[in-house]
Amino acid sequence: MKGFFVGMMRIDRRWIFLAMALVVAGSLLSDIAFPRLEISPDVRRAYDLIDGLPSGSTVLFSWDYDPGSQPELYPLSAAMLRHALRRDLRIVMMGHWVTGVPLIEKQIAEVVRREFPDKRYGSDYVNLGYKSGQNVLVITMAKSIRDAFPADYYQTPLDSLPLMARCRTLRDARAVVSFSAGDPGLIMWIQFAWQRFHIPVTGGCTAVSAPEFSAYLQSGQLHGLMGGMRGAAEYETLVGVRGSASVGMTAQSLAHALIVVFILIGNVAYFAAGRGKEER
């Protein structure tokens, strides 16, 4: 028996690799879901902000991340974008990170055009693209969006876009939503859009950076927040979609469970084989 456990401890780690690959791939391909996902108050607040806006009002979405944070922030921005489109909100899109602009395009192709084919560019949504300037850009936009962005991402003059005729300054937006992987991102939007012009700010960030926003949430400067893939999954639950974050969350849960099981087996084998025998 002891021999069995000693053998267990020396198991070829490639079996462990295989188990991990199978669990993740399997849960992505299957339809298992965990029914209960605790909705945190922060995500609920973000949802309520968007849900409470009268239909037809304008919101600004800012994609403030680069491809490196895509696995976490893409599902998160998709979930909120879907919600806003369903609520018939008009969306002005932009980004503060030059490397993130292709991600706006990707989201338009994969979420807006595919799932909401009747939404019209120019009247339902507009992509302004990227401009440098960060906080100065935000202040300029508060004076006049035309001064900041004379034309949209596709070089169409703003005056020929019906949405932009109604949304002339940042203050015409009822909320700012930022998907933020760092600076410039949410903190800058809080400092400028909320502090200066009292436009409610909400959005999402990576799981690792979520704790640094707790002070802003407590003080009410930030109107809710989604942290990482879990936040996105919660939002998807609220919206009632089973998107990539929810699917990913199942994979995430099972992978975590697998690791815990490995720790348990490893420890059982370790104690059963007599501690210390494994030393090389």
């Binding site: 462990i16 690959a21 209960r36 491809p67 879990r230 815990v260 490893g266 370790y270 104690f271």
Partner: protein, 220 residues
């Protein structure tokens, strides 16, 4: 000339950075910022050292037809192609350089990064053992966070007899407490200690007490 001047350069550059932290006046702030720009320029030049070394090592292998020379040749080819097309035709979106970055370098980087998930599993299996009290604590904290932060945790917790019904949020609260209290305390202790160590090391360098970076023989 060989040792004293570099020591003085180190001292003055470091001291100026410290002074600039306290002086907001543009006369100081702007020049300090300029100097940080200089550093970026110098570091860009040093890449030549690295590329020179890389070419030396691998060209040697290819010329001597040593084992693995074929791989070295591939390395040199990739290096030359990427550097040349990027330098000549630019690095913006839409160039071949960008395409190679997007379809070769980025997937390789993402794949290498995601290997971690596998290695975490194997490390969990073979190394996270409850050898003693300390290791047991590490294990428990890790398991609480891992289970508590994914939907599986609350789902399992709710299924537990009695506790699940009486304290439905206990797992969430425990996770949060571990993060907020003992984890924060431990992290802070490490941070304060390590920062003081780093400051002491930095001051030793500025003062020329630790000067191993100038140790080449011959010269004073």
């Amino acid at each position: 000339m060989k040792k004293t001047v570099p020591l003085i350069i180190t001292f003055l550059a470091g001291l100026y950075m410290i002074v600039a932290y306290f002086v907001p006046h543009p006369a100081v702030a702007n020049s300090a910022q300029q100097m940080q720009g200089w550093e970026i320029i110098i570091v860009a030049f040093t890449l030549v050292l690295g590329i020179g070394n890389l070419v030396q090592v691998h060209y040697g292998k290819v010329r001597g037809r040593r084992p693995g020379w074929f791989h070295s040749a591939a390395l040199l080819a990739c290096l030359a192609v990427m550097a040349a097309i990027g330098t000549v035709w630019g690095v913006a979106e839409g160039t071949v350089y960008y395409w190679l970055y997007d379809n070769v370098m980025a997937p390789l980087s993402a794949a290498m990064f995601s290997l971690l998930a596998f290695f975490i599993a194997s490390a969990a299996y073979r190394a996270f053992r409850a050898r003693n009290k300390e290791a047991t604590l590490l294990l428990l904290a890790a398991v609480v966070i891992m289970i508590g932060r994914v939907p599986l945790g609350p789902w399992l917790w709710a299924k537990l007899p009695w506790v699940g019904g009486h304290w439905p949020h206990a797992l969430d609260q425990l996770t949060q407490w571990v993060m907020d209290v003992p984890n924060t305390a431990g992290q802070r202790g490490i941070k304060i200690g390590a920062a003081l160590g780093a400051v002491s090391m930095a001051l030793r360098m500025l003062l020329g007490i630790e000067r191993s970076y100038l140790t080449t023989g011959g010269g004073s």
